[in-house]
């Protein structure tokens, strides 16, 4: 999501599930919604069935989504940027972009510093020793007041629009075909459909998921998609957007509430050591406007941050102790998934707690994770079911007698035994009822957390120890301090005015003087005095666009389409009347909850209120690996990078110790000739469904999808057993020999792709190979999302 924030200012699905029905073109790429989000995918088919929308899939495999698509294009895993870059070029060379939109709502006109350059695969500012870019040369050219200079005609060679054109000019159809392996004709056929929405009366949407994010260039793939959508004028409009399809019931909510390295609830930033005072932190974290006419909503950062400290530390958060700023741990080190396991692998972690999570099977590189787990002193697994991760010491090939880790397993409630809210992919926070009591012996997550909190707190009080002030200071004002209820917590998240105790109706009311508290500003307004908005159940849809403002509650402020100001032109008139997001009636905005002041005049500030530019960023200096996306090969690739031989892979990856030795190098290509990708199937959801008999029945066994031609070459029979191995491990399973993966011609050479599903482990109703035995321990340069989607393997019949 880093890339969406870098482009638009917020990192979330721009539109929502039901809105997809408003699209004229649906591009599904890096996602397989028919299998992974079937009930949301219905809205894509609804668009097709009600007004003839065109549905296109681009994927390494012909999936169940492709089965109902109008067209499908097979590409090589990890070649997404080349394909999307080709589409961007197709738009720019054929003038298919939505010119008015691009001029009004993007930074196309911004001039970039003359120090910016891109040569031989590297952007300016590359520091080879530190493996990073210095982004200083990616800045805009500033005027005397410090504001960015612009060129409204978009003709200046250093304006973003021209830079974009020059950059993507290399992505010709022939090159796209060479890199991705598809044919030029097929590419152009798809390009004609996808690039057909650059007009006021047409709108297209993009559905993507981890097929884009889980690459070493994942953030930049998404950026390319976002650029495509911006050029076509599809962001902010009903039926448009770039829609990240999340994989778990509350991935969005858990991210919003920041069970995430580097952020605090509401996407506030974890303080860094260099920010030695609250003032310094706020100064760093609060962006400055780059143009006069921007709302720069993140300018309110101090209000959100201080209100959160007040929610957490209450009376102990006062101006004289910087509202408890130093109660928070500070770090500037990467603390994400791979780094956690690297720390464990290095023996630096003593304890590891997994709640509602099965890390071992989640990978990557299961053998490495097993070795890392064995180095932990203790591990606590909190889950309703027994997990492979809790039993890693008796995984196939492990010797329990050699593993010192103490493992504690705590059975907790699951969803149906609790109320509370889930935030779906489309940002709708929906409240659920509790249906039954948990079985005797099972405790809720909040009870377990509270018991831990109180016991630790009491131990510190009795024995002393490392800096326990924040623990003693932490607010715990719940009626039953041993088990807070979820409505209580929802109210704390919403926040209140400290003087009156009144719950707030909007984050607009938050203050940075310590007079308000809000656990998560983004959810301020979800539980105001009027009651729990997330539990609302009105089915009315007066706009006819599927917004349903009376159903549940959507952040921010019940807004259903993000950036909806961009659904109207500069004067505030909807691009298209029938699918108006919001429109200016002369006095106020009508339609969706405006992403803009309700009575702010259309020309007052830019449409993208969360950016310093006031517009969306086609060119964004905020990512670590370049302001414009560029195609780099996966770290394990069957071919070189024909755009720049010397810089084949993303140059700013984080390399953990020993990982290079676990990758297939160029010399190993003949030993590991086949790109492989892993994925889910509709009958299963990661690992928990291995406890559900009907689902095990519906998709019983681990399998490997092998293209027909490759199977013939290797003597693999459909339904027979195959072995697949990478440099890191091997799996064995039933072969599904299929026509749905064809041969690709990549840079003149035939390439076969192999596919493996992720759902099996050694605990569960049926056992099967762990797909993540195969995957490499390396991640995206920005988000550190592991590369699960493109790596090399070999395959043989057993």
């Amino acid at each position: 999501m880093a890339s969406l924030a870098a482009t638009f200012g917020r990192g979330a699905m721009t539109n929502h599930w039901k809105d997809i029905k408003n699209a004229d073109v649906v591009l599904v790429m890096g996602a397989n919604p028919a299998e992974n989000h079937p009930c949301g995918f219905k809205w894509a088919l609804e668009a097709r069935n009600t007004h003839g929308a065109r549905l296109v899939t681009i994927d390494p495999r012909f999936t169940r989504t492709s089965a109902v698509a109008d067209d499908h294009l097979q590409i090589r895993p990890g070649s997404d940027i080349a394909l999307l870059g080709g589409l961007v070029r197709h738009i720019l060379t054929n003038d298919l972009h939505h010119a008015d939109y691009v001029r009004a709502h993007t930074n196309a006109s911004f001039l970039v510093s003359d120090r910016f350059s891109f040569e031989d695969g590297l952007f300016s500012g590359f520091d080879a020793a530190a493996n990073r870019y210095d982004a200083a040369s990616w800045e805009y050219e500033r005027d005397a007041d410090g504001y960015a200079r612009r060129n409204p005609t978009l003709e200046h060679p250093r304006c973003v629009f021209q830079l974009l054109r020059a950059h993507f000019d290399r992505y010709t159809p022939a090159r796209v075909a060479d890199i991705t392996g598809c044919s030029e004709e097929a590419f152009l056929r798809i390009a004609d459909i996808v690039c057909s929405t650059g007009t006021a009366d047409r709108v297209g949407t993009v559905m993507y998921a981890v097929g884009w994010t889980m690459h070493t260039v994942g953030s930049q793939i998404i950026r390319t998609g976002a650029i495509l959508q911006l050029l076509l004028g599809n962001i902010g409009r009903p039926g448009g957007g770039i829609n990240a399809l999340r994989g778990h019931a509350n991935v969005q909510g858990a991210t919003d509430h920041a069970i995430v390295a580097g952020i605090l609830p509401g996407y506030l930033r974890v303080p860094e050591p260099a920010q030695t005072s609250l003032a310094e932190h706020l100064d760093d974290a609060t962006p400055r406007p780059l143009v006069r006419e921007t709302l720069n909503y993140w300018g309110n950062y101090p209000k959100f941050f201080v209100s959160q400290l007040k929610a957490w530390f209450g009376d102990r958060a006062q101006p004289d102790n910087e509202f408890g700023y130093h109660y928070l741990g500070k770090t500037d080190a990467d603390a994400t998934w791979l780094s956690i396991w690297d720390q464990a692998h290095q023996g630096n972690l003593e304890g590891f707690i997994a709640l509602g999570f099965n890390p071992l099977l989640a990978g990557p590189d299961v053998s490495r994770l097993q070795a890392a787990m064995a180095k932990l002193k203790w591990k606590v697994v909190i889950d309703p079911f027994m997990l492979d991760s809790a039993e890693f010491w008796k995984a196939p090939g492990m010797d329990p007698a050699a593993i010192d880790t103490e493992v504690l397993y705590l059975p907790t409630t699951h969803w149906i035994e609790r109320d509370g809210s889930f935030t779906n992919s489309g940002r709708w926070a929906q409240w659920k009822e509790k249906a039954i009591d948990p079985p005797i012996g099972v405790r809720s997550d909040t009870r377990v957390l509270s018991e831990l909190f109180w016991r630790v707190k009491d131990l510190y009080a009795a024995e002393g120890g490392a800096y326990d002030e924040p623990i003693q200071a932490l607010t715990w004002n719940y009626l039953n301090p041993r088990e807070p209820t979820l409505p209580e917590l929802a109210q704390e998240i919403n926040g209140h005015d400290l003087a009156s105790g009144r719950r707030l109706g909007s984050f607009g009311e938050l203050k940075d003087d310590g007079s308000t508290a809000s656990g998560n500003w983004l959810y301020c307004g979800s539980y105001p005095e009027a009651g729990n908005q997330m539990a609302r159940r009105s089915t009315e849809d007066p706009t006819g666009l599927g917004m349903h403002h009376g159903w549940a509650w959507s952040w921010p402020l019940n807004r259903r389409v993000l950036y909806n100001r961009a659904s109207a032109d500069q004067a505030g008139a909807a691009w298209e009347g029938a699918r108006a997001g919001i429109a200016w009636n002369g006095r106020e905005w009508i339609g969706d909850v405006p992403d803009y002041g309700r009575t702010t005049r259309p020309d007052a500030v830019g449409a993208f209120i969360m950016t310093e530019e006031g517009v969306a960023r086609l060119f964004s200096p905020l990512l670590k690996d370049g302001p414009i996306p560029e195609h780099y090969e996966p770290v394990e690739s069957p071919t070189g990078n024909i755009l720049h031989e010397q810089v084949a892979i993303n140059p700013v990856l984080r390399w953990y110790d020993g990982v290079r030795d676990t990758l297939a190098q160029e010399a190993d290509r003949s030993a590991y000739p086949y790109p492989c990708t892993i994925y889910r199937v509709v009958e299963r959801e990661h690992f928990v469904t291995s406890n559900v008999p009907y689902l095990v029945e519906a998709m019983p066994d681990f399998f490997v999808e092998v293209p027909e031609g490759l199977a013939a070459e290797k003597g693999i029979a459909n339904g027979g057993q195959v072995r697949v191995w990478s440099r890191r491990g091997e799996v064995q399973g039933t072969a599904i020999v299929t026509k749905r993966i064809g041969p690709l011609t990549v840079n003149g050479q035939t390439v076969w792709t192999v596919g493996v599903p992720v759902h099996w482990g050694f605990v569960g109703l049926t056992q099967g190979a762990m797909a993540n035995q195969l995957t490499p321990f390396i991640g995206d340069a920005n988000t550190s999302c592991p590369e699960f989607k493109a790596f090399l393997v070999n395959v043989e019949a057993v």
Binding site: E35, N49, F62, S66, V682, P693, Y694, P700, D701
Partner: protein
């Protein structure tokens, strides 16, 4: 327990006394919108409390090799090339609830197979004798015999739900609106719309599968490539009785007369010519 009025019943000795004309229901399967998620398969099992069968991957996304007494719906997956493009044909295999049900006609057990006034064809296991004539009688090879209970089972269109004003479980659950439910007329109209849409989307031979040979069905399909029915595993011209059994009803009538004639002619012989007792015949006649 509630009851539904019957239009037809197997092995009836007199016409079913139902005279009401209640709305007939139908399911419409839009094959072009089906993603093969097996939601219907699982929802069917869950609602009908059907047991889990041990399965194994046999080189397909398909869950089971075949329907069974415990699996009333099966999604079948076939990869087929059509006009140069790969099609992943996914068809829902389940009872079509024929207007002229071959199973019902074949069934010798009175009341074991009924057709309700609403069009649903149901097997009443109380009365099923396990002869499996329905299996042979079905033009779609749907009913399945269970060795343990010695009865035959198949989709009953969730008649318990329908009776309560709910749609069948598969209809309710279908994520992509590939299954529609309503009166037969409404579903035919909807099918026309869907066929039109397919034409506009460039399909040359979309058809509604509602075969006349069996008087139409209460589960209909909209087939994108109507000229390739066999690829969808749909028989082109199904009939209510398989060829050798066509006219069995009439034959049985004749058979009854033949047997009756046998008895009757014996009686006539007895009355006209009478018995021949050995003791009555003088010995010297020889």
């Amino acid at each position: 327990m509630s009851t539904l009025s019957i239009r037809r019943t197997s092995a009836a000795t007199s016409p079913a006394p139902g005279i009401r004309s209640t709305p007939e229901y139908a399911k419409l399967i839009d094959i072009g919108s089906c993603i093969g998620c097996k939601g219907c398969e699982v929802a069917c099992k869950e609602w009908n409390d059907l047991k889990v069968e041990p399965t194994a991957n046999f080189g397909s996304y398909q869950s089971h090799q075949d329907l069974s007494a415990h699996t009333w719906v099966l999604m079948r997956f076939d990869e087929v090339e059509m006009s140069g493009r790969l099609q992943w044909l996914i068809t829902k295999d389940a009872c079509l609830h024929c207007e002229e049900p071959g199973c019902l006609y074949a069934c010798p057990a009175p009341g074991a197979i009924v057709q309700y006034e609403n069009g649903i064809v149901d097997i009443n296991q109380d009365r099923c004798i396990g002869c499996q004539y329905c299996v042979t009688g079905c033009p779609f090879d749907i009913p399945r015999f269970d060795r343990d209970t010695k009865k035959v089972y198949k989709c009953n269109m969730c008649v318990d739900r329908v009776d309560a004003g709910l749609e069948p479980a598969c209809v309710k659950t279908c994520p992509t609106h590939a299954i529609s439910w309503g009166s037969k007329e409404d579903m035919l109209a909807l099918a026309d719309q869907k066929v039109d849409l397919l034409r506009r989307r460039g399909f040359e031979n979309p058809v509604t599968y509602n075969p006349a040979g069996i008087g139409g069905t209460h589960m209909m399909y909209v087939v994108p490539h109507g000229d390739r029915l066999a690829d969808y595993r749909l028989p082109a011209t199904p009939t209510a009785s398989p060829a050798p059994l066509t006219g069995l009803g009439a034959l049985k009538r004749i058979g009854a007369y033949v047997l009756g004639f046998g008895v009757l002619s014996s009686l006539v012989h007895y009355l006209t010519i009478g018995p021949q007792t050995a003791e009555d015949v003088p010995a010297d006649e020889h």
